[in-house]
Structures are given as C-alpha cells and as structure tokens.
Symmetry: C3
Subunit: 269 residues, 3 copies
C-alpha cells in the first residue's frame, strides 16, 4: 500500500509493508524545507499510522539528499508575520505534527542523511531513535532570523540534549557535524553513508524482532517519565510572551535580510 | 569479617575491611544471573552495610568473569508468569534490593568486568560510580522476551543516561560495548582489563581520603535532587498497567522461544 | 569604558566595548582564587551589566594563567568556620553572585584557560556557554577538606552534567582534563590554547550576529524550563541540614590539614 500526495510546496509520502511504515519528507530543490502543507500532512500521516493495525515501527527519512533543512522560508511573508499568525503557526500547525510523532504508539526512527536543521531537527528530536550518516549536519540557526524558539519545540530539544547543548545551538546558531552531534547526544549512532542502508535495515530488524506490545509500552513509559520530569510547564502568560518577537522591528530586519541575502542589522529597539 | 551464603541458585557474599565493604555477585556457570534468592540477599546485605559503623564505601563486583548477565531465567516459569507473580517480583523483590543500594548512606561503586546486562545493569544504574573494563558489555535486551521494563527500574536508567539512550537500549534490545557505554554516560570510566585492579584501588583511595560525612551528604544531596527532578511519578493506575504484559500471549511466546532457543513469533494479539 | 577595582584579596574587573562586556577574574599569585570581596564584586558587576543598555554578550575569563582555582582558602579561618558563617557565605555571598550571572538577561560565556576548580567551576556552570583550552582542568575536590557542596551550587552542577558526573566529581574529588570534561558535558568545546583567542572571537561574532532579543528570550526560556524541571526543591529543614558540617570535628581536621599540608585524618565522629 502506498499513499503519497504531491504539491508544488513539497509533500509527505508514506508507504507501509507491515510491520514497517516508511514516511518520506520531500520538497524538491528546497532540501525538503517543510511547508505548512507538509506539517499538516505529517500530522495526518502519523495519525493514520497510529490507527493502522499491524504496524510495529515507522521510519522517517528525506529525499533529495537531505533530511529536512528547516521550515519553508518562502511562507514567512504571507503566513508568519503577525503575532496571531506566528502563534497559530507554532501552536496549531507545528505542535500537533510533532505531537502526532511523539505520541505515535509505535517506535519512530529518524533516518538522517544530510541537512537536519530547524524544523527537520525538531522532527528528529521527537522521534525515538536517530540514525545518521557521517555527512549529516544539525542545527537551529534561527538567531540570524531574529526570532527565538517556541516553548514546546525548545522543551523537546532540551529533553533530548540538555541545557548546555540547547543553548549552544540556539545562542550561536551553531551547525554541528555528525560526530559532534553524536558526542552531544543529538543522534544515537553515526555510520558512513555507504553503510547507511545496511545499518538502518539492522536497526529495523532488531526492533521488529522484539515484542510489539513491549515496544509500545517502553516508548510510552520513557516518554511519560520524561514528561513528568519537565515539571509544571510555563504559565499561560509566559507562553503568550513567546510571540512578542512578531511585533518587533528586528524580526522584520532578520527576515528581510535573509531574503535579500544581506547581513541583518539588528537594532534591539 | 566475612559473611557469605552459598546456594545452588547463586549467592551474594560480602566482606569488609573497614572502611571498605566488598559485595560479590556469584552464580557459577550462569554469568552471575540474579536469582530471587540473590535479590533478597542483596537487599539484606546493603541493609547490613548501611547499619554497620565504620564503613565509608561499598564496592560491588562479580565473580566468574562477569558483573551480572541478567535475571535468572530458570525462575521464569515458576515465579514470573502470573500478573500477581510479575508484580510481586518487581515491586517486592527487585525494587527493595535496588532501593537498598540507592539509599545506602555511603558511596557504592560498581566495578564492572564483563557482562552487565538486564538486572546487572539495573544494579549498576543505582550505584554512585561505575568503573568498567574495556571488555564489558551493557544492555537490557528484554524486547526479545516480549516484556517491557518495570517503571521504577526504567526511571533509574532514564535518570542515569536520559531518554535517547534508554529508548535505544529498550527498543533495539541493543548491547553496547564499553566505549559506547562511556560515550552515552552509562559508565564513568573505562580501563583496560589489565589495569582494572589498580584503577579500582585508586578510586577507592580517593573516596576514602575524603571526609566520610561529606561523602554521605553529597550522595544524599545529589540523589535527593535527582528524585525531586523526576516529578510526581506515575499514577497508581499507570503503574498497575505495567503488569498487563503478564496476561499476554506474546509474553508466553517470548519466554517459550527463549527456552527453546528459537525465534519468538510475536503476534501482537 | 572600563571599570576595575583592585584589592589585595583579588578583584573583578570589567570593561565593555558594546555590544560585548568582558569580565576578568584576577587574584595574582592565587590562580584567581575567589575571595568574598570578589564574589561581592562579581554580583555587582553582573547587576550592572544586566542594567546597561546596548550589551548583547558577556565573557568571563581569568588572568594569571587560570580561570579560577576555587575559593580563597585564606578566608576559611576567619569567615567560614561557624555554622552561621558557613550559611551566610553560601546563601548571602555565593548564591547571589551565581544568580546574578544565571539571571543576567544576555548570554554569558565562560572562556576557560587553565584551572577551573571549585568556585571557578561553579561560575562556569551558571554561564550559558563554556569554551575551554586543552590545558584546562576541572573539579570540585572539596571532599579532602571535609565538607559537602551547598545545595544550590550542587543543583547547578547537576543541571549541567547529570547525576553520574556530579557524583564522580564530588565523591572522588576528581580533577578532569579538558577532553574528559568535554566527553561529560562540562564544556561545549575544547580548542588548542594557540587557537583560543580566534575561537572565542568566532563564538562572539556568531552570538552578536544574531538578534539580541531572540538571544535573551532563548536564554530565559531554556533556563526557565531547566528550573521547572528541578521540581519543588529541598525543604527548609533539608537546606538547613546542609550546614551541619560546620559543627563537625572532621571539618576542622580537613581545613587544618590543608593549611598544614598534611593528610587529613578524618574520624567521622
């Protein structure tokens, strides 16, 4: 069975040969930059996978030589400028997609070969395992665009790598190669690209060889314990302040410089 | 002074030359697989060590070329099949033994040479320091047996290595060599086997050279802060659901395949 | 603009060439051991930096070939012997200084070249990023002095490196070289000393190139999420018990042996 939708703005495809579902991020010419349409399809795709009987494992990978290089920048001006747009983008579009992966009852593996940046890294963070090739690169370089990470997305990054690495990625806008990503816990394993398919097959075989109910229970248990360890969470007012940046001149300067391929001249006004 | 009990099903021995207590896991021919009797002795042993004046440090190691290769599989059919047996095994046998180590007021060091798997890894996780030889191996490959990790045991693993490594160990049933275990925070230090005794002596000397009250306070403080960071914990209903696997056919398939040395044919029914 | 105060007991200097503030730990002949006066100046310095407009980044480094080798031991006998002195030292002197750094709204980088020990390590732990040369060394070897770490200081260390490394540092009084400190998450990056200035310049340039409001928000967000993850914290009685060591003979033995350059003979009485 194969279900795949194609849009000019990129698409999420998925196929399943039970017990394994394979999800593909695809946005030709854009290193699979994730459009709003793709976030919506990703959510729907994982809701379907979660409801489909007979599946024991889902694998997410990217086409076109990348995992995903971030959000689709072309949508900024029309979809991500006002405070309400920004809130809706993060809370109504991204958060439900990431939640659908995190709450998918079966294990989800990110198979990463190439750029795993911004939204791509956020997807990888909510997967249960991350296998990467040695040519992969990781980061969230949004500091150059003049906006901060959204709280729920930051919480997933923090839960995976801890505060020191989260601050390093965010404050420096740092890109890490695969070796450093392994050192800092962003990925479970790094293999040469030539061995990637074999390593992924082995990983799939090991998971599928285990009891499927035990896998679901272990995923649920570890994720539940991690949620409990996050504590009470931000207040509503603190969450709301997350969108203050949308009203700033610096945000406009950052986006504008990005499109004009110039250095942003942030004024902090 | 030496106290040691011998049983056909393995035993826990301990001796003390104050200020150091040495605890030995021993189950000949079974890589020190931990029987119910051994869990009970381990609890009693650490209750005695905790009450004994003049001790400043306890070291746990294994005989017969291993730390401990897991639980004693031969006890599955008689002791770990019904839901009530499974609950009692984890809550009344294992949990109190692990708690006796974690709450032992003096530092406890796991000296690991060889297999440190399943229950052996769980013991190592609740020790305060883990020194390992380069030939040691680590894992919790219970996915092949068709049952999930118990909540308290998973919480100790999660607290030590974080979610990514906990999920990797549980979902893949992955065995890690000593280098990978060091990379992922499962052990504090890895030394060649030929240097193991010297490295352990040095470690003991450093701990014993410090103020004993300061050591007890530091252990208590770090462990208390770690407990507080776990948050409110699972509900009673969530804990109870941990034993659902005992009623499943897949659990029976997994155990049966293990004894028959066949591949389990999990059906997820 | 430059503000610097000089005292025989060491001093904290700071200068700013906006948008970067540079803070210097200096205590000649003492590897920048931090005196009470220096802790007070450090607090005032970061309160000023926090209030000064136009700054986007603060860098802390040490003079005299070290970051800071700990607290100023010469103050023990006059300032840190009674229970009330010890409490006041940690709660009224150190805690506010470390809090002023942690709560400084702009990113703070620890630029570490040489000894980063005791109070020096505590300063590094509350910075947002830690860049170190390959000749740096890290530790909190207070076990030889016979006293435990204060709760808030331990919480900052635990939040950075986790329980296994915190216990290793405290129970063994272990000094780690830069490579091990990197392996265990104590520092973000290690560079050869000859490349240190260039690496620091690059790091500063990357942070300053980002949106300043986004940097402040990201720092606040990650730190807030980390605080929430700490849970409810110790009770007042548990905090109060932190100062019990001041009444012990072993504390006096430890301090006395340190001054006499002998091995302390702890009695645990």
């Amino acid at each position: 069975m194969a279900q795949s939708e194609h849009h000019p703005g990129g698409s999420i495809g998925w196929t399943s040969v039970p017990p394994v579902a394979r999800v593909t991020l695809s946005h030709a010419g854009q290193l699979n930059a994730i459009s709003i349409q793709m976030w919506r399809e990703l959510r729907r795709c994982f809701e379907e996978i979660s409801a489909r009987p007979g599946l024991r494992l889902a694998v997410i990978s990217g086409q076109h030589g990348a995992f995903a290089a971030g959000a689709d920048i072309s949508e900024f001006s029309a979809q991500r400028m006002s405070r309400e747009q920004v809130r809706a983008y993060h809370e109504d579009i991204i958060a439900p997609a990431l939640r659908a992966i995190a709450h998918c009852p079966i294990p989800v593996v990110a198979a990463i070969d190439g750029a795993c940046i911004g939204g791509g890294l956020e997807i990888a963070c909510v997967c249960d395992l991350r296998l990467a090739t040695d040519r992969s690169r990781f980061g969230v370089p949004i500091n150059r665009l003049g906006f901060p990470m959204a709280p729920q997305e930051a919480a997933a990054l923090l839960g995976l790598v801890g505060g020191a690495t989260a601050l390093e990625l965010l404050l420096e806008g740092r890109l890490m190669d695969a070796e450093e990503a392994y050192d800092k816990g962003l990925v479970n394993r790094v293999v040469p690209q030539a061995l990637f398919d074999d390593a992924l097959d082995t990983l799939i075989r090991h998971i599928v060889a285990g009891g499927p109910a035990a896998a679901r229970r272990n995923k649920w248990l570890i994720r539940r314990l991690m949620e409990l360890a996050q504590g009470p969470g931000l207040t509503a007012a603190q969450k709301d302040a997350s969108w203050d940046f949308a009203d700033s001149q610096d945000y406009r300067r950052g986006i504008s410089a990005f499109f004009n391929k110039t250095r942003p001249d942030f004024q902090d006004d």
